[in-house]
Protein backbone atom coordinates (compact mmCIF):
# COMPACT_ATOMS: atom_id res chain seq x y z
CA UNK A 1 0.00 0.00 0.00
CA UNK A 2 1.49 3.33 -0.97
CA UNK A 3 1.58 6.12 1.57
CA UNK A 4 -0.81 8.44 -0.19
CA UNK A 5 -3.62 5.87 0.23
CA UNK A 6 -3.73 6.60 3.96
CA UNK A 7 -4.88 10.20 3.67
CA UNK A 8 -6.84 12.40 1.26
CA UNK A 9 -5.35 15.17 -0.81
CA UNK A 10 -5.48 18.09 1.66
CA UNK A 11 -8.03 20.84 1.17
CA UNK A 12 -7.29 24.49 1.96
CA UNK A 13 -8.06 24.15 5.70
CA UNK A 14 -6.03 20.97 6.04
CA UNK A 15 -3.15 22.57 4.19
CA UNK A 16 -3.18 25.33 6.79
CA UNK A 17 -3.37 22.82 9.62
CA UNK A 18 -0.51 20.79 8.15
CA UNK A 19 1.54 23.93 7.80
CA UNK A 20 0.99 24.58 11.52
CA UNK A 21 2.04 21.01 12.39
CA UNK A 22 5.10 21.36 10.19
CA UNK A 23 6.15 24.55 11.97
CA UNK A 24 5.53 22.95 15.38
CA UNK A 25 7.57 19.84 14.45
CA UNK A 26 10.43 21.93 13.14
CA UNK A 27 10.34 24.03 16.31
CA UNK A 28 10.36 20.92 18.50
CA UNK A 29 13.29 19.42 16.57
CA UNK A 30 15.17 22.73 16.71
CA UNK A 31 14.51 22.94 20.44
CA UNK A 32 15.92 19.42 20.87
CA UNK A 33 19.04 20.30 18.88
CA UNK A 34 19.38 23.61 20.73
CA UNK A 35 19.04 21.86 24.09
CA UNK A 36 21.69 19.30 23.16
CA UNK A 37 23.90 22.08 21.83
CA UNK A 38 23.37 24.15 24.99
CA UNK A 39 24.25 21.23 27.23
CA UNK A 40 27.33 20.40 25.16
CA UNK A 41 28.39 24.05 25.20
CA UNK A 42 27.79 24.37 28.96
CA UNK A 43 30.04 21.42 29.64
CA UNK A 44 32.64 22.72 27.22
CA UNK A 45 32.32 19.79 24.81
CA UNK A 46 32.52 22.12 21.81
CA UNK A 47 35.99 23.37 22.70
CA UNK A 48 38.46 22.96 19.88
CA UNK A 49 40.89 20.74 21.76
CA UNK A 50 38.17 18.16 22.45
CA UNK A 51 37.64 17.72 18.71
CA UNK A 52 41.16 18.47 17.49
CA UNK A 53 42.30 14.88 18.13
CA UNK A 54 40.09 13.71 15.28
CA UNK A 55 42.14 15.72 12.79
CA UNK A 56 45.51 15.03 14.42
CA UNK A 57 47.26 12.56 12.08
CA UNK A 58 48.68 10.27 14.78
CA UNK A 59 45.28 9.88 16.47
CA UNK A 60 43.44 9.49 13.18
CA UNK A 61 45.87 6.71 12.38
CA UNK A 62 45.25 5.20 15.83
CA UNK A 63 41.47 5.24 15.30
CA UNK A 64 41.66 3.89 11.77
CA UNK A 65 44.40 1.25 12.24
CA UNK A 66 43.84 0.07 15.81
CA UNK A 67 40.11 0.69 15.66
CA UNK A 68 38.44 0.45 12.27
CA UNK A 69 40.91 -2.04 10.79
CA UNK A 70 40.67 -4.41 13.76
CA UNK A 71 36.87 -4.14 13.69
CA UNK A 72 36.80 -4.90 9.98
CA UNK A 73 39.19 -7.82 10.46
CA UNK A 74 36.90 -9.32 13.12
CA UNK A 75 33.82 -8.72 10.96
CA UNK A 76 35.41 -10.26 7.85
CA UNK A 77 36.68 -13.23 9.85
CA UNK A 78 33.23 -13.71 11.35
CA UNK A 79 31.42 -13.46 8.03
CA UNK A 80 33.77 -15.79 6.15
CA UNK A 81 33.54 -18.37 8.92
CA UNK A 82 29.77 -17.92 9.12
CA UNK A 83 29.36 -18.47 5.36
CA UNK A 84 31.25 -21.77 5.53
CA UNK A 85 29.37 -22.89 8.65
CA UNK A 86 26.10 -21.65 7.16
CA UNK A 87 26.49 -23.71 3.97
CA UNK A 88 27.39 -26.83 5.96
CA UNK A 89 24.50 -26.48 8.43
CA UNK A 90 22.00 -25.27 5.83
CA UNK A 91 22.69 -28.17 3.48
CA UNK A 92 22.85 -30.50 6.47
CA UNK A 93 19.36 -29.45 7.55
CA UNK A 94 18.07 -30.48 4.12
CA UNK A 95 19.77 -33.87 4.29
CA UNK A 96 17.75 -37.04 3.71
CA UNK A 97 19.43 -38.69 6.69
CA UNK A 98 17.94 -37.92 10.09
CA UNK A 99 21.36 -38.61 11.61
CA UNK A 100 22.70 -35.50 9.82
CA UNK A 101 19.53 -33.42 9.79
CA UNK A 102 18.67 -33.50 13.48
CA UNK A 103 22.10 -32.48 14.86
CA UNK A 104 22.29 -29.66 12.30
CA UNK A 105 18.81 -28.49 13.31
CA UNK A 106 19.79 -28.60 17.01
CA UNK A 107 23.01 -26.65 16.47
CA UNK A 108 21.21 -23.98 14.42
CA UNK A 109 18.41 -23.58 16.98
CA UNK A 110 20.86 -23.47 19.89
CA UNK A 111 23.18 -20.82 18.50
CA UNK A 112 20.33 -18.67 17.23
CA UNK A 113 18.85 -18.57 20.73
CA UNK A 114 22.04 -17.73 22.68
CA UNK A 115 22.88 -14.01 22.86
CA UNK A 116 26.14 -13.25 21.03
CA UNK A 117 27.51 -11.48 24.08
CA UNK A 118 26.93 -14.53 26.26
CA UNK A 119 28.64 -16.67 23.63
CA UNK A 120 31.64 -14.33 23.69
CA UNK A 121 31.84 -14.43 27.49
CA UNK A 122 31.65 -18.24 27.49
CA UNK A 123 34.35 -18.60 24.84
CA UNK A 124 36.49 -16.04 26.62
CA UNK A 125 36.44 -17.81 29.95
CA UNK A 126 36.86 -21.27 28.43
CA UNK A 127 39.62 -20.44 25.96
CA UNK A 128 40.47 -16.78 25.39
CA UNK A 129 41.62 -16.04 28.93
CA UNK A 130 44.56 -18.42 28.52
CA UNK A 131 45.71 -17.03 25.19
CA UNK A 132 46.93 -13.53 26.00
CA UNK A 133 46.16 -10.52 23.87
CA UNK A 134 45.07 -12.54 20.81
CA UNK A 135 42.46 -14.39 22.89
CA UNK A 136 39.64 -11.79 22.91
CA UNK A 137 40.06 -11.15 19.18
CA UNK A 138 39.55 -14.80 18.26
CA UNK A 139 36.73 -15.16 20.79
CA UNK A 140 34.84 -12.38 19.00
CA UNK A 141 35.51 -14.00 15.60
CA UNK A 142 34.45 -17.44 16.87
CA UNK A 143 31.27 -16.13 18.54
CA UNK A 144 30.30 -14.17 15.42
CA UNK A 145 31.00 -17.26 13.28
CA UNK A 146 28.80 -19.52 15.41
CA UNK A 147 25.87 -17.08 15.71
CA UNK A 148 25.87 -15.80 12.14
CA UNK A 149 26.59 -19.28 10.81
CA UNK A 150 23.39 -20.47 12.45
CA UNK A 151 21.43 -17.52 11.04
CA UNK A 152 22.94 -17.96 7.57
CA UNK A 153 22.13 -21.68 7.69
CA UNK A 154 18.45 -20.70 7.73
CA UNK A 155 19.08 -18.22 4.90
CA UNK A 156 20.83 -20.87 2.79
CA UNK A 157 18.11 -23.39 3.51
CA UNK A 158 15.35 -20.94 2.58
CA UNK A 159 17.30 -19.96 -0.54
CA UNK A 160 17.75 -23.57 -1.67
CA UNK A 161 14.06 -24.27 -1.09
CA UNK A 162 13.17 -21.16 -3.12
CA UNK A 163 14.74 -22.64 -6.26
CA UNK A 164 11.89 -24.04 -8.39
CA UNK A 165 11.40 -27.78 -7.79
CA UNK A 166 11.62 -28.47 -11.53
CA UNK A 167 15.32 -27.60 -11.44
CA UNK A 168 16.19 -30.41 -9.04
CA UNK A 169 13.81 -32.83 -10.79
CA UNK A 170 15.37 -32.10 -14.17
CA UNK A 171 18.84 -32.58 -12.71
CA UNK A 172 17.84 -35.94 -11.23
CA UNK A 173 16.21 -36.74 -14.56
CA UNK A 174 19.49 -36.43 -16.48
CA UNK A 175 21.08 -38.77 -13.93
CA UNK A 176 22.90 -36.45 -11.50
CA UNK A 177 23.66 -37.65 -8.00
CA UNK A 178 22.38 -35.85 -4.88
CA UNK A 179 25.68 -34.04 -4.22
CA UNK A 180 25.85 -32.96 -7.86
CA UNK A 181 22.29 -31.63 -7.83
CA UNK A 182 23.10 -29.59 -4.74
CA UNK A 183 26.49 -28.22 -5.80
CA UNK A 184 25.95 -27.83 -9.56
CA UNK A 185 22.25 -26.94 -9.83
CA UNK A 186 20.69 -25.77 -6.57
CA UNK A 187 23.41 -23.80 -4.71
CA UNK A 188 24.52 -21.60 -7.65
CA UNK A 189 20.92 -20.55 -8.28
CA UNK A 190 20.15 -20.13 -4.59
CA UNK A 191 23.11 -17.80 -4.01
CA UNK A 192 21.54 -15.21 -6.29
CA UNK A 193 18.39 -14.98 -4.18
CA UNK A 194 20.36 -14.98 -0.95
CA UNK A 195 22.88 -12.23 -1.65
CA UNK A 196 20.77 -9.37 -0.18
CA UNK A 197 20.01 -11.38 2.98
CA UNK A 198 23.70 -12.25 3.34
CA UNK A 199 24.71 -8.59 3.04
CA UNK A 200 22.11 -7.57 5.65
CA UNK A 201 23.68 -10.17 7.91
CA UNK A 202 27.05 -8.49 7.27
CA UNK A 203 25.58 -5.30 8.75
CA UNK A 204 24.51 -7.25 11.85
CA UNK A 205 27.97 -8.81 12.11
CA UNK A 206 29.71 -5.46 11.80
CA UNK A 207 27.50 -4.03 14.55
CA UNK A 208 28.07 -7.06 16.77
CA UNK A 209 31.87 -6.71 16.62
CA UNK A 210 31.34 -3.89 19.12
CA UNK A 211 30.23 -6.44 21.75
CA UNK A 212 33.89 -7.43 22.13
CA UNK A 213 34.01 -4.42 24.49
CA UNK A 214 32.85 -6.72 27.30
CA UNK A 215 35.86 -9.04 26.94
CA UNK A 216 38.41 -6.31 26.16
CA UNK A 217 38.72 -7.14 22.46
CA UNK A 218 40.35 -4.63 20.12
CA UNK A 219 38.35 -2.52 17.68
CA UNK A 220 36.54 0.81 17.45
CA UNK A 221 34.90 0.55 20.88
CA UNK A 222 38.27 -0.21 22.48
CA UNK A 223 40.10 2.84 21.05
CA UNK A 224 37.53 5.18 22.63
CA UNK A 225 38.85 4.65 26.16
CA UNK A 226 42.48 5.82 25.78
CA UNK A 227 41.27 8.88 23.85
CA UNK A 228 38.62 10.01 26.32
CA UNK A 229 40.92 9.32 29.25
CA UNK A 230 43.52 11.63 27.70
CA UNK A 231 41.26 14.43 26.48
CA UNK A 232 38.13 14.10 28.67
CA UNK A 233 36.04 14.28 25.51
CA UNK A 234 33.58 11.43 26.09
CA UNK A 235 30.80 12.88 23.95
CA UNK A 236 32.88 13.72 20.85
CA UNK A 237 34.60 10.32 20.93
CA UNK A 238 31.37 8.37 20.94
CA UNK A 239 29.75 10.63 18.35
CA UNK A 240 32.70 10.09 15.98
CA UNK A 241 32.83 6.32 16.55
CA UNK A 242 29.09 5.92 16.08
CA UNK A 243 29.48 7.98 12.90
CA UNK A 244 32.12 5.58 11.55
CA UNK A 245 29.86 2.59 12.27
CA UNK A 246 26.83 4.26 10.66
CA UNK A 247 28.84 5.20 7.56
CA UNK A 248 30.21 1.67 7.14
CA UNK A 249 26.76 0.13 7.61
CA UNK A 250 25.05 2.56 5.23
CA UNK A 251 27.64 1.64 2.61
CA UNK A 252 26.79 -2.05 3.09
CA UNK A 253 23.05 -1.26 2.93
CA UNK A 254 23.50 0.55 -0.37
CA UNK A 255 25.31 -2.51 -1.74
CA UNK A 256 22.51 -4.76 -0.43
CA UNK A 257 19.81 -2.63 -2.10
CA UNK A 258 21.76 -2.67 -5.34
CA UNK A 259 22.17 -6.46 -5.16
CA UNK A 260 18.45 -6.88 -4.45
CA UNK A 261 17.56 -4.87 -7.57
CA UNK A 262 20.26 -6.45 -9.72
CA UNK A 263 19.82 -10.12 -8.78
CA UNK A 264 16.32 -10.56 -7.37
CA UNK A 265 14.01 -7.75 -8.41
CA UNK A 266 12.00 -5.35 -6.27
CA UNK A 267 9.31 -7.42 -4.65
CA UNK A 268 10.52 -10.87 -3.72
CA UNK A 269 12.24 -10.93 -0.35
CA UNK A 270 13.56 -14.19 1.01
CA UNK A 271 11.36 -15.48 3.82
CA UNK A 272 13.56 -16.74 6.64
CA UNK A 273 11.83 -18.41 9.61
CA UNK A 274 12.68 -17.15 13.09
CA UNK A 275 13.97 -18.96 16.15
CA UNK A 276 11.80 -21.89 17.23
CA UNK A 277 9.84 -21.79 14.00
CA UNK A 278 12.33 -23.77 11.95
CA UNK A 279 11.00 -27.20 12.84
CA UNK A 280 7.40 -26.32 12.09
CA UNK A 281 8.27 -25.21 8.58
CA UNK A 282 10.25 -28.39 8.08
CA UNK A 283 7.08 -30.46 8.21
CA UNK A 284 5.13 -28.10 5.98
Amino acid sequence: MSQSVLFDAPGPRTVRRHRLYTVLTVLALLALVAFAGYRLDQEGQFEGDKWEVFVTPSYVEFILVDGLLETLKMAVGGIVGAMVLGVVLGVGKLSDHALVRVPCWAVVELFRAIPVLMLMIVLFFLWGIYHGSAGPFWCVVAALTLYNGAVLAEVFRAGILAVPAGQAEAAYGIGMRKSQVMSVVLLPQAVKIMIPAIISQCVVTLKDTSLGYAIAAPGLTAVARPIYLEFQNHVPVYVVIAGIYVAANLLLTVVATFAQKRFVGEKKVLDVPMVGEAQATEKA
Partner: protein, 234 residues
Protein backbone atom coordinates in the same frame (compact mmCIF):
# COMPACT_ATOMS: atom_id res chain seq x y z
CA UNK B 1 27.55 -28.49 39.91
CA UNK B 2 28.46 -26.98 43.29
CA UNK B 3 29.02 -23.63 41.62
CA UNK B 4 25.44 -23.56 40.41
CA UNK B 5 23.99 -24.75 43.72
CA UNK B 6 26.01 -22.23 45.72
CA UNK B 7 24.99 -19.34 43.47
CA UNK B 8 21.38 -20.16 42.68
CA UNK B 9 20.12 -16.98 44.36
CA UNK B 10 22.62 -14.84 42.46
CA UNK B 11 21.62 -16.53 39.17
CA UNK B 12 17.92 -16.07 39.94
CA UNK B 13 18.38 -12.36 40.60
CA UNK B 14 20.33 -12.04 37.35
CA UNK B 15 17.58 -13.59 35.28
CA UNK B 16 14.90 -11.59 37.14
CA UNK B 17 16.75 -8.43 36.10
CA UNK B 18 16.97 -9.71 32.51
CA UNK B 19 13.22 -10.32 32.39
CA UNK B 20 12.47 -6.91 33.97
CA UNK B 21 14.77 -5.17 31.47
CA UNK B 22 13.00 -7.02 28.66
CA UNK B 23 9.48 -6.22 29.85
CA UNK B 24 10.06 -2.52 30.53
CA UNK B 25 12.05 -1.83 27.39
CA UNK B 26 9.72 -4.02 25.32
CA UNK B 27 6.66 -1.99 26.30
CA UNK B 28 8.55 1.27 25.85
CA UNK B 29 9.87 0.24 22.43
CA UNK B 30 6.42 -0.84 21.22
CA UNK B 31 4.93 2.53 22.24
CA UNK B 32 7.74 4.62 20.78
CA UNK B 33 7.82 2.44 17.65
CA UNK B 34 4.08 2.95 17.07
CA UNK B 35 4.52 6.70 17.44
CA UNK B 36 7.42 6.59 14.97
CA UNK B 37 5.46 4.59 12.40
CA UNK B 38 2.53 7.05 12.67
CA UNK B 39 4.97 9.85 11.90
CA UNK B 40 6.63 7.76 9.19
CA UNK B 41 3.46 7.17 7.13
CA UNK B 42 1.65 10.42 8.02
CA UNK B 43 0.82 13.39 5.82
CA UNK B 44 3.36 15.80 7.35
CA UNK B 45 6.55 15.69 5.26
CA UNK B 46 8.83 16.97 8.04
CA UNK B 47 7.64 14.28 10.47
CA UNK B 48 8.07 11.60 7.78
CA UNK B 49 11.62 12.69 7.15
CA UNK B 50 12.48 13.05 10.86
CA UNK B 51 11.21 9.54 11.64
CA UNK B 52 13.01 8.06 8.62
CA UNK B 53 16.28 9.73 9.61
CA UNK B 54 15.94 8.52 13.19
CA UNK B 55 15.30 4.94 12.08
CA UNK B 56 18.21 4.90 9.63
CA UNK B 57 20.67 6.39 12.11
CA UNK B 58 19.72 4.25 15.11
CA UNK B 59 19.38 1.00 13.17
CA UNK B 60 22.95 1.35 11.91
CA UNK B 61 24.50 2.24 15.26
CA UNK B 62 25.66 -0.69 17.43
CA UNK B 63 23.48 -1.07 20.52
CA UNK B 64 26.59 -1.26 22.67
CA UNK B 65 27.62 2.26 21.61
CA UNK B 66 24.18 3.61 22.55
CA UNK B 67 24.31 1.99 25.99
CA UNK B 68 27.91 3.08 26.60
CA UNK B 69 26.94 6.59 25.52
CA UNK B 70 24.23 6.74 28.18
CA UNK B 71 26.57 5.23 30.74
CA UNK B 72 29.77 7.22 30.12
CA UNK B 73 29.17 10.20 27.84
CA UNK B 74 25.66 11.42 28.73
CA UNK B 75 26.46 12.09 32.41
CA UNK B 76 29.23 14.45 31.20
CA UNK B 77 26.59 16.69 29.62
CA UNK B 78 24.23 16.52 32.55
CA UNK B 79 21.99 13.69 31.35
CA UNK B 80 21.87 11.03 34.02
CA UNK B 81 19.39 8.81 35.74
CA UNK B 82 20.47 9.29 39.34
CA UNK B 83 16.85 10.03 40.27
CA UNK B 84 15.89 6.40 39.59
CA UNK B 85 16.38 4.46 42.78
CA UNK B 86 14.16 1.41 42.82
CA UNK B 87 15.47 -1.49 44.82
CA UNK B 88 13.25 -4.56 44.98
CA UNK B 89 14.21 -6.61 48.00
CA UNK B 90 13.56 -10.30 47.61
CA UNK B 91 14.51 -13.21 49.78
CA UNK B 92 17.32 -14.01 47.37
CA UNK B 93 18.80 -10.53 47.23
CA UNK B 94 18.12 -7.08 45.84
CA UNK B 95 17.09 -6.36 42.27
CA UNK B 96 18.66 -2.96 41.84
CA UNK B 97 16.93 -0.74 39.29
CA UNK B 98 19.11 2.33 39.65
CA UNK B 99 20.84 4.69 37.26
CA UNK B 100 22.72 1.99 35.29
CA UNK B 101 19.51 0.00 34.86
CA UNK B 102 17.54 3.09 33.81
CA UNK B 103 20.20 4.18 31.33
CA UNK B 104 20.30 0.72 29.78
CA UNK B 105 16.49 0.66 29.56
CA UNK B 106 16.40 4.02 27.79
CA UNK B 107 19.10 2.86 25.36
CA UNK B 108 17.28 -0.40 24.65
CA UNK B 109 13.99 1.45 24.07
CA UNK B 110 15.55 3.97 21.68
CA UNK B 111 17.34 1.19 19.76
CA UNK B 112 14.49 -1.33 19.58
CA UNK B 113 11.87 1.30 18.69
CA UNK B 114 13.52 1.78 15.30
CA UNK B 115 13.14 -1.94 14.56
CA UNK B 116 9.54 -1.94 15.84
CA UNK B 117 8.84 0.98 13.48
CA UNK B 118 10.20 -0.92 10.49
CA UNK B 119 8.25 -4.09 11.39
CA UNK B 120 5.00 -2.15 11.76
CA UNK B 121 5.63 -0.31 8.52
CA UNK B 122 5.95 -3.62 6.68
CA UNK B 123 2.61 -4.53 8.30
CA UNK B 124 1.03 -1.27 7.13
CA UNK B 125 2.20 -2.07 3.62
CA UNK B 126 0.52 -5.48 3.85
CA UNK B 127 -2.94 -4.02 4.58
CA UNK B 128 -5.02 -4.07 1.36
CA UNK B 129 -5.43 -0.66 -0.27
CA UNK B 130 -9.24 -0.98 -0.21
CA UNK B 131 -9.29 -0.90 3.60
CA UNK B 132 -7.77 2.56 3.84
CA UNK B 133 -9.78 3.77 0.85
CA UNK B 134 -13.03 2.61 2.47
CA UNK B 135 -12.04 4.27 5.74
CA UNK B 136 -11.39 7.53 3.91
CA UNK B 137 -14.63 7.18 1.98
CA UNK B 138 -16.67 7.17 5.18
CA UNK B 139 -14.92 10.37 6.19
CA UNK B 140 -12.35 9.26 8.76
CA UNK B 141 -9.43 11.67 9.16
CA UNK B 142 -5.83 10.35 9.05
CA UNK B 143 -5.77 9.62 12.78
CA UNK B 144 -8.97 7.61 12.52
CA UNK B 145 -7.82 5.73 9.42
CA UNK B 146 -4.63 4.77 11.19
CA UNK B 147 -5.91 3.96 14.68
CA UNK B 148 -9.25 2.32 13.80
CA UNK B 149 -8.61 0.60 10.49
CA UNK B 150 -5.02 0.30 9.34
CA UNK B 151 -2.89 -0.17 12.49
CA UNK B 152 -5.03 -2.97 14.03
CA UNK B 153 -4.67 -4.95 10.81
CA UNK B 154 -1.04 -3.94 10.37
CA UNK B 155 -0.25 -5.21 13.86
CA UNK B 156 -1.58 -8.65 12.98
CA UNK B 157 0.31 -8.73 9.70
CA UNK B 158 3.48 -7.52 11.41
CA UNK B 159 3.42 -10.10 14.20
CA UNK B 160 6.19 -12.37 12.82
CA UNK B 161 8.73 -9.54 12.32
CA UNK B 162 7.62 -7.96 15.62
CA UNK B 163 8.20 -11.26 17.40
CA UNK B 164 11.68 -11.47 15.84
CA UNK B 165 12.34 -7.94 17.06
CA UNK B 166 11.23 -8.80 20.60
CA UNK B 167 13.33 -11.99 20.63
CA UNK B 168 16.28 -9.88 19.50
CA UNK B 169 15.47 -7.47 22.33
CA UNK B 170 15.48 -10.29 24.87
CA UNK B 171 18.92 -11.34 23.65
CA UNK B 172 20.07 -7.73 23.47
CA UNK B 173 19.32 -7.16 27.16
CA UNK B 174 22.60 -9.00 27.83
CA UNK B 175 24.45 -6.03 26.31
CA UNK B 176 23.47 -4.13 29.47
CA UNK B 177 26.11 -6.25 31.23
CA UNK B 178 28.73 -4.12 29.44
CA UNK B 179 27.48 -1.04 31.31
CA UNK B 180 27.48 -2.86 34.66
CA UNK B 181 23.81 -3.71 35.02
CA UNK B 182 23.57 -6.81 37.17
CA UNK B 183 21.64 -9.09 34.81
CA UNK B 184 22.19 -12.62 33.53
CA UNK B 185 25.27 -12.10 31.34
CA UNK B 186 26.91 -10.07 34.12
CA UNK B 187 26.08 -12.77 36.65
CA UNK B 188 27.60 -15.40 34.35
CA UNK B 189 30.73 -13.32 33.96
CA UNK B 190 31.08 -12.91 37.72
CA UNK B 191 30.57 -16.60 38.39
CA UNK B 192 33.02 -17.69 35.69
CA UNK B 193 35.54 -15.18 36.98
CA UNK B 194 35.74 -16.82 40.39
CA UNK B 195 35.42 -20.43 39.20
CA UNK B 196 38.72 -22.23 38.59
CA UNK B 197 38.98 -25.21 36.25
CA UNK B 198 37.33 -25.78 32.90
CA UNK B 199 35.05 -28.63 33.97
CA UNK B 200 33.54 -26.67 36.87
CA UNK B 201 32.90 -23.75 34.49
CA UNK B 202 30.86 -25.93 32.16
CA UNK B 203 28.06 -26.31 34.75
CA UNK B 204 27.11 -22.64 35.13
CA UNK B 205 27.57 -22.15 31.38
CA UNK B 206 25.16 -24.99 30.66
CA UNK B 207 22.58 -23.65 33.12
CA UNK B 208 22.70 -20.09 31.78
CA UNK B 209 22.43 -21.24 28.17
CA UNK B 210 19.57 -23.59 29.01
CA UNK B 211 17.57 -20.88 30.81
CA UNK B 212 18.13 -18.45 27.97
CA UNK B 213 17.11 -20.95 25.32
CA UNK B 214 13.96 -21.67 27.34
CA UNK B 215 13.14 -17.94 27.60
CA UNK B 216 13.62 -17.45 23.85
CA UNK B 217 11.58 -20.54 22.94
CA UNK B 218 8.79 -19.42 25.32
CA UNK B 219 8.60 -16.07 23.57
CA UNK B 220 8.69 -17.73 20.19
CA UNK B 221 5.94 -20.17 21.21
CA UNK B 222 3.76 -17.36 22.58
CA UNK B 223 4.09 -15.34 19.39
CA UNK B 224 3.22 -18.40 17.31
CA UNK B 225 0.03 -18.93 19.32
CA UNK B 226 -0.90 -15.25 19.10
CA UNK B 227 -0.28 -15.27 15.37
CA UNK B 228 -2.67 -18.17 14.84
CA UNK B 229 -5.33 -16.61 17.05
CA UNK B 230 -5.09 -13.16 15.48
CA UNK B 231 -4.74 -14.24 11.88
CA UNK B 232 -6.85 -12.13 9.51
CA UNK B 233 -8.74 -14.16 6.97
CA UNK B 234 -7.80 -12.83 3.58
Amino acid sequence: MDVVVDNYQFIGIGFAATVLLFLISGIGALLLGTLLVAMRVGPIAVMRRAAATYVTLVRNTPLLLILVFFSLAAPKIGINFQFVKIVISTGWGDIRMTNAFAGATVGLILYTASFVCESLRSGVNAVPVGQAEAARAIGLPFGGVLSNVVLPQALRAALPPLASTLIALLKNTTVAASVLVLESAYALKQILDKTPGTVEKLWPIGVFILVFVILVELLSFASGRLERRWRVAR
